[in-house]
């Protein structure tokens, strides 16, 4: 019983950072129609921001996390300007270019930090007990930060003029531009937020995962599973699917093993693709 409850708490932590990553990926897809294969590497860059600023240069952890968000957000803007904008009519080209970008980010990380795992000391000590399950402050911090960030994003998208523009572009780019919404401007903001969310997820979890330049691979696999299950293009679906996947994955890992958990996750995604290619919570298919 204790193990079940502890696993549920662990799954909640996993769900929180997975949701950040998946929501970012969906956001980019929604506005630009491109599957960003380099999303896992954006997470990795966020993690190395913390390795560099916090672990090596001893800046405060929070500052390093914020820097991770902003820096990776700007990397996203660079991607939008140099690749996705010229390839707007060519979604497959955008995807393939993002694979090229992934290789560049990976190699730069190897140059900067070497191939070995970066070590990040914990930013806080201590833990709390919730009905017998242990949750370290470090993990609790990730959960809280993820909830705050997603809530802020939700409010931003619902309330602000920009949020409406984003949603308009995601629904119908042509109609949006007729209404005087600048596609370029909107894409830039979407890319900043989408990439920034991946970056901040990497930054927040850096003390917990020991980043390597190749960590992006497992991250992008996870993110794909979540956005397919959640329905590509649905932000709410991505959050729900992240929770669902995190629980399935964590439980299977605990009670069987990690590889089986990965196989189960991929099989889940394949099953969703077969039965309902638009995802469990998705609306319509993009042309």
């Amino acid at each position: 019983m204790d193990l079940l409850w502890q696993t549920a708490v662990n799954a909640t932590y996993a769900a929180s950072y997975m949701a950040l990553i998946a929501v970012g990926l969906v956001m980019i897809f929604g506005v630009m129609g491109v599957i960003n294969f380099a999303h896992g590497e954006l997470y990795m860059v966020g993690a190395y921001c913390v390795v560099f600023l916090y672990a090596q240069e001893t800046f405060p952890f929070l500052l390093a996390v914020a820097a991770g968000l902003v820096f990776v957000g700007f990397v996203g803007i660079v991607m939008e300007r140099t690749m996705f904008r010229p390839l707007r009519d060519n979604p497959l080209g955008g995807l393939i270019a993002s694979i090229g970008f992934l290789l560049i980010l990976q190699t730069l990380a190897v140059f900067g930090f070497g191939r070995r795992m970066g070590h990040v000391p914990p930013s806080t000590q201590g833990k709390i007990e919730i009905f017998g399950a242990i949750l370290t402050y470090q993990r609790l911090f990730v959960i809280v930060a993820a909830i705050l960030l997603l809530a802020a994003l939700w409010a931003f998208l619902k309330r602000s003029k920009f949020g409406r523009a984003l949603r308009a572009c995601a629904q119908d780019a042509e109609a949006a531009s007729l209404q005087g919404i600048s596609m370029n401007q909107t894409a830039r903001v979407a890319m900043f937020i989408g990439a920034g969310l991946a970056g901040v997820a990497g930054a927040l979890t850096a003390p917990l995962v020991s980043p390597t330049p190749y960590i992006g691979h497992s991250i992008i696999v996870t993110a794909f599973i979540i956005i397919i299950v959640g329905g590509v293009g649905s932000l709410e679906g991505a959050v729900i699917a992240a929770v669902l996947y995190a629980f399935v994955h964590t439980f299977v890992t605990t009670f069987f093993d990690g590889v089986i958990a990965n196989i189960v996750g991929l099989a889940l995604m394949l099953a969703v693709l077969i039965v309902r290619p638009t995802g469990l919570f998705g609306a319509r298919e993009r042309a």
């Binding site: 599957i35 140099t82 390839l87 270019a97 694979i99 090229g100 290789l103 730069l108 691979h217 290619p277």
Partner: protein, 341 residues
């Protein structure tokens, strides 16, 4: 309009001469290379088959991310057949190709319910599942370490002829022969009505379907043929290197296949071959000479982005484009309106 008679004969003879010349060059090549370069040449020949088989699949308009895993299916199957059941290696390679084709036939039922992105991601997921199965099940797949000491290709020990396939030169000729035959088959398929139908499905699948083309069957056919030859490439690889493991067939390797195909250009048969040869030469000779080994993925990534942005039809389009520019530059009135073929 070209007169079919003498013009056709002249062109065909010229074409044959060029082919003879090409084979003479390929036969002389290993003797101009160092031992380690010969080893690279063997892998290059195998990769040519890999990327050409990949292109056949893309003719129907679908891009898979599982092709390298399918190659791995051929490699694992051939290695296991030889190791565990003592199947003679040439036969095991053929069976490895069949195994890869059968895997593709099976996968086509879920995968061809999808198109475009969904197919891409679906093929990725299917490939990862296969790879994780190799990783998880030590018996018989050897787990993360994979299979080692795979039986080599049997030596030829006749009284007048003795060929040791441990020598890269000899294996190079073996691979060259197998790959040449395979490429010929792939070429014939593309030039036949089957190839026309593949193209038709790519450009207008609903129109093709309306005149009786069973698009699902033809997509599956393309997938199965492509996978068979990927499996053959895998067999050639396994019995040359002598070891396979799940990492060798990961998505990173798939990225290289994509790069070769896209940088070379998938519109023509020779485009991907051009891509894999040029990039391998840059990679192995130029980068190695400059001592930029660790920068290799970065340079590949940059080349990939630049070619998607500025050379969307690949290297193979460069020749006609330069020719057209040259003609325009000379400014002959006859050349003005002519488009490159």
């Amino acid at each position: 309009m070209q007169a079919a008679g003498t013009g056709g004969l002249v062109r065909r003879t010229a074409w044959r001469l060029r082919l003879v010349f090409l084979f003479a060059m390929l036969a002389a090549l290993p003797y101009l290379l160092s031992y380690s370069q010969q080893e690279i040449a063997v892998l290059l020949v195998i990769n040519v088959l890999l990327v050409c088989s990949y292109r056949l699949l893309t003719l129907t308009g679908e891009w898979s991310l599982g092709h390298v895993v399918i190659m791995g299916v051929g490699a694992y199957a051939s290695a296991l057949l030889a190791k565990q059941f003592g199947v003679p290696v040439p036969l095991s390679m053929l069976l490895g190709g069949c195994m890869a084709a059968a895997t593709a036939a099976l996968l086509s039922f879920p995968l061809f319910r999808m198109k475009g992105f969904y197919f891409l991601i679906g093929s990725f997921a299917a490939g990862e599942i296969i790879r994780l199965i190799w990783k998880r099940f030590t018996d018989p797949f050897g787990g993360p370490k994979g299979l080692k000491r795979i039986d080599p290709f049997p030596d030829i020990e006749a009284s007048f002829l003795s060929v040791d396939f441990y020598e890269p030169v000899n294996y190079y000729f073996l691979a060259l022969a197998v790959v040449s035959v395979s490429l010929f088959v792939l070429y014939r398929i593309e030039r036949s009505r089957i190839g026309l139908t593949f193209h038709a499905i790519h450009w207008q699948d609903r129109l093709a379907e309306s005149v009786g083309v069973d698009t699902f069957r033809y997509r599956t056919l393309a997938f199965v043929i492509a996978s068979f030859f990927a499996g053959i490439a895998g067999g050639l690889y396994a019995h040359y290197v002598g070891a396979v493991n799940p990492t060798r067939f990961s998505v990173d390797q798939m990225v290289y296949v994509l790069v070769w195909a896209i940088v070379g250009g998938t519109a023509t048969f020779h485009g991907p071959i051009l891509g894999v040869v040029v990039l391998t030469v840059i990679n192995e000779i130029v980068l190695r000479a400059l001592g930029l080994d660790t920068a290799r993925p970065l340079i590949y990534g940059a080349i990939l982005i630049l070619s998607v942005l500025y050379l969307p039809n690949g290297l193979e389009s460069l020749g006609p484009r330069l020719q057209a520019r040259w003609r325009r530059w000379r400014g002959g009135p006859a050349a003005a309106g002519r488009e490159p073929a």
